[in-house]
Symmetry: C2
Subunit: 296 residues, 2 copies
């Protein structure tokens, strides 16, 4: 608890995570590209930073949670980036979901200045971020993982050290391959049920608890049946993660048939302007193709 | 309990279901194409039938559980079929998984002789059949569903009346779209994890309980990690069901991208002679394409 913590990126996830660090008693300094987002955290006791480098100067551990690979590169390695403020022995924890390959490169560049890094992507959505119940998949050195545990425990519940730098990101992408694959199965099943004239609630009751069950079907099929497209996770962010999956899979020579289909269906939805809807709005792409809608 | 029950089709599922009917106190007459399969049931107290028609003559309710649509047609409508032995008011319960469209046609043909029918496909595998814990998805008239409940309760746990004739079969196909879609997601995720150099057990621990979770991943990923291909459900039977899904989807105008991919991957495995392995051996098709194996 003696280590000073910096937090960069106060978006839909970061704001709840930073608040939980303050609640847990950490001394927290925050920074966000859009400065106004810092205000609620300052009201809760955070100090305001003037740049990522400034946050790093005043912290021993800097957590960041931003959108994509280029954002992480800018915040860590760019002008006024963390690397320009951090001292030897400091720890950078990246909770963004980005390229495993780039993660290894950034970690190596930090290590040249004796700055440690953990990749620690999260799962659990804004609800998990607010409630401190995130799943955290961590890549990096054992020693740094142990050091970071109090920070992780303030933000999440299921905290798994899966391997060296990059392994956290790769595990997160495994998670996303499962999520979008299960989502596609759910969408096809609901379309089939609708076309077959079935009572969707009865079908849900009959199939959701058995061998056909998934978290996604249990939690998102009811939302679709009510045509509620509010996001647990947006199409735009989901598509960003699917793109990372496909790029990594291409590098590694892994055939991802289902994931690739979802990528193309999300592309259709983005072209329709639906990028801010929940990732379960995937079904709208099938509806668009088939010419009929589910539920209502 | 006063109704006499016939049971036709003593395969991997039917033998356990018939045994549970005997245990529940029903007077049961059995028939199977391969006669020797009747012997264990006769030892448990069943009477031997000489044909489906003969079983129907001595029963008020006839349950059948055979492989595919043509088998059901033969057993019900063919020479020496149930229709030639049943009397007005009798009830036929078809626990096979077959075409919803053909189910409606067969039910209509039986109804011309005042013989009732319920389509009641099952889920839960041979373990569920033996333990009497099957899920049963029932299509047909309310009155016949109520009449059949004691029979269903002797064989299963989650018994859902989903709609009129055909609705049970359509619901089962919805179930199978989910199963194979979740299976594909699991296979792609494990291939990705393997290629990424991850410790598969750690990945399993990190992702199986959250938003990426499914029954199939929880139960079959460990089998794959141990390269255990013993079937809960065989590729041959799974492929038969996927074919029914695709045929019905084509009739109804439903795009099934993921399901269609699984069909083609299972076709590859059948060409490799793997039709008797478990449906999770789906991953062997991806391994065949990628040139590396998961776990081991």
């Amino acid at each position: 608890m003696n280590e000073r913590v910096g937090f960069i990126g106060l978006g839909i996830m970061g704001r709840g995570m930073a608040a939980n660090l303050i609640k847990a008693g950490f001394s927290v300094r925050v920074w966000n590209r859009t400065g106004s987002r810092m205000e609620p955290l300052i009201a809760e006791g955070a100090a305001p930073g003037t740049s990522p480098a400034d946050v790093a100067v005043h912290s021993d551990i800097v957590v960041l949670c931003v959108s994509d690979t280029p954002d992480v590169e800018t915040v860590i390695l760019g002008e006024n980036g963390i690397i320009h403020g951090a001292k030897a022995g400091d720890l950078v924890i990246d909770c963004s979901t980005i390229s495993p390959q780039e993660t290894k490169r950034i970690a190596a560049e930090l290590m040249e200045k004796d700055i440690h890094m953990l990749d620690a992507p999260i799962s659990g959505g804004s609800v998990g971020a607010t409630n401190g119940t995130l799943s955290i998949m961590v890549g990096g050195e054992d020693e740094q993982f142990e050091r970071a545990l109090p920070v992780f425990e303030a933000m999440g519940k299921a905290i798994t050290h899966v391997g060296p730098n990059g392994a956290g990101q790769t595990t997160k992408l495994v998670n996303q391959v499962l999520v979008v694959g299960n989502a596609l199965a759910m969408c096809e099943a609901l379309m089939f049920a609708q076309a077959g004239g079935l009572d969707l609630q009865k079908v849900y009751d009959a199939v959701s608890q058995g061998a056909a069950g998934s978290w996604f079907f249990t939690n998102r099929a009811p939302q679709i049946m009510e045509r509620d497209w509010s996001p647990g996770f947006t199409i735009a962010l989901q598509q960003k993660d699917v793109r990372l999956c496909l790029q990594a899979a291409d590098d590694m020579g892994v055939p991802l048939f289902g994931t690739n289909i979802v990528f193309n269906l999300y592309r259709t939805l983005e072209a329709m302007g639906l990028q801010d809807e929940g990732n379960h709005a995937l079904i709208k792409a099938l509806e668009h193709l088939a010419g009929f809608e589910v539920g209502g």
